[in-house]
Amino acid sequence: MTKSINITLKVWRQKGPHVKSGFETYPATDISTDMSFLEMIDVVNEQLTLDGKDPIAFDHDCREGICGMCGAVINGRSHGPEKGTTLCQFHMRHFSNGDTIVIEPWRAKAFPIIKDLVVDRSAFDQIILAGGYISVNTGGAPDANSIPIAQEIAELAMDAAACIGCGACVAACPNASAMLFTSAKISQLALLPQGRLEAANRALAMVRKMDELCFGNCSNERECEAECPKEISISNIARLNREFIKAGLVSSVK
């Protein structure tokens, strides 16, 4: 049932990339527990605006958990403590009256802060750019049913393809590693016959690009899998490792 709570926010405020920054405290009063977390920030921002203060900048778009635009660390948990949930789908009913909520941006060297909770995730685009595609031009494809794909394989590929590129895996990883993100794309394409042809090149190129962008190293902490809003499994990281071994140590690809 709908009820209202009063809470206190401690929000990371940072005007620009290299500006002095820190936490600011704001009260959030009369918050309906049916609100999503982002709607709660909307309400706080409305008040800040009316008070002549700078509203909290945060990324968001679809607000239905699929675009991957939103995300912040809430009391130490990426996208909040609910399993398999993006911040926009995380509701205030998980809090109680009087709670203090600490909100921090994704923190990683590869994701520099733009403003407040907004970070630059273009590093993810860079990783895809390095090889996260199948090299087919429009127009020449054979009939869609010409290569049968076992249902189980298609489902595994879909499990990996569900990644929304939000960056929670990097944010949650104690080492700020992007292995879950990278492995999801490598897995999806390596599983499908259409993607096998370039699998070796792709694995090497994407891993190299990931390293170049200053992400940390995977140490199998499994925090990424636990925080991923799409619950992408680290079995994809193992598949990346297999693909990498094949590509780097077995294939003749450079």
């Binding site: 921090e104 104690p174 190293n217 140490s219 199998n220 902490e221 499994r222 636990a226 490792n241 693909e243």
Partner: protein, 213 residues
């Protein structure tokens, strides 16, 4: 050569080296433990095992060299990985909470690893680089473990080793790509069992020796 070293120089390549050397140490631990268990067969049985081992001569030297190389790779790569990961998050979170993936073992790998390095040096000084001409290995043990401080140091070190391998063994398989819905749960269990066996197997020896006195 580049074609091989380049892949090994990447983050995944370095992890592979950690995994292979780590698994090597797990094998070593198993053999070392199997040998040490002969102590429960009595003083003579233990001493004859040691003699038999030393009679292998060059093979032992080869194994020692291998372990040394493995250790060098494991330590240097581990340190590099740790340093790079530290750099990957220059500003830390003010609130840290686990989501359920991290374990005691995984969270402390670099630290337990470092302590183990110190311990191994200590251990080698005590039992390896000593003059054994007039003394049996068993006596060496008895002398050492007559001192409760030694017992304490060894027990703590063995617990730390157990914590280290509780993550290390499973993690090595994951890094080598061995993740399978049918076997991974077993491997995770094996990792825990192995760490317990290592902990109790090695951990009880100093106490046993002390009680024998």
């Amino acid at each position: 050569m580049n074609r091989l070293t380049n892949p090994l120089g990447t983050s995944v390549g370095k992890k592979l080296m950690m995994a292979v050397t780590g698994l090597g140490f797990c094998c070593f631990l198993t053999i070392h433990l199997a040998g040490n268990l002969t102590i429960y067969g009595g003083k003579d049985f233990f001493n004859s095992y040691v003699e038999h081992l030393h009679s292998l001569g060059p093979l032992v030297t080869l194994a020692e060299l291998g372990l040394l190389v493995f250790a060098a790779i494991h330590i240097m790569t581990g340190a590099l990985l740790f340093y790079q990961s530290l750099k990957a998050r220059p500003i830390r979170y003010s609130v840290n909470k686990r989501a359920g993936g991290r374990t005691l073992g995984s969270a402390t790998m670099p630290y337990t690893g470092f302590i183990l390095l110190l311990f191994v040096i200590f251990h080698l000084i005590n039992f390896h680089f000593v003059d054994k001409t007039n003394i049996t290995t068993f006596q060496l043990l008895s002398n050492a473990f007559a001192n409760p401080v030694y017992i304490f140091i060894y027990t703590v070190a063995v617990i730390i080793a157990a914590i280290h391998v509780s993550h290390g063994l499973w993690s090595a398989f994951q890094t080598l790509g061995a993740n399978h819905p049918k076997y991974t749960p077993f491997l995770r269990g094996l990792s825990i069992v192995f760490s317990v066996v290592v902990g109790i197997g090695f951990g009880f020896i100093p106490v046993y020796v002390f009680l024998l006195l």
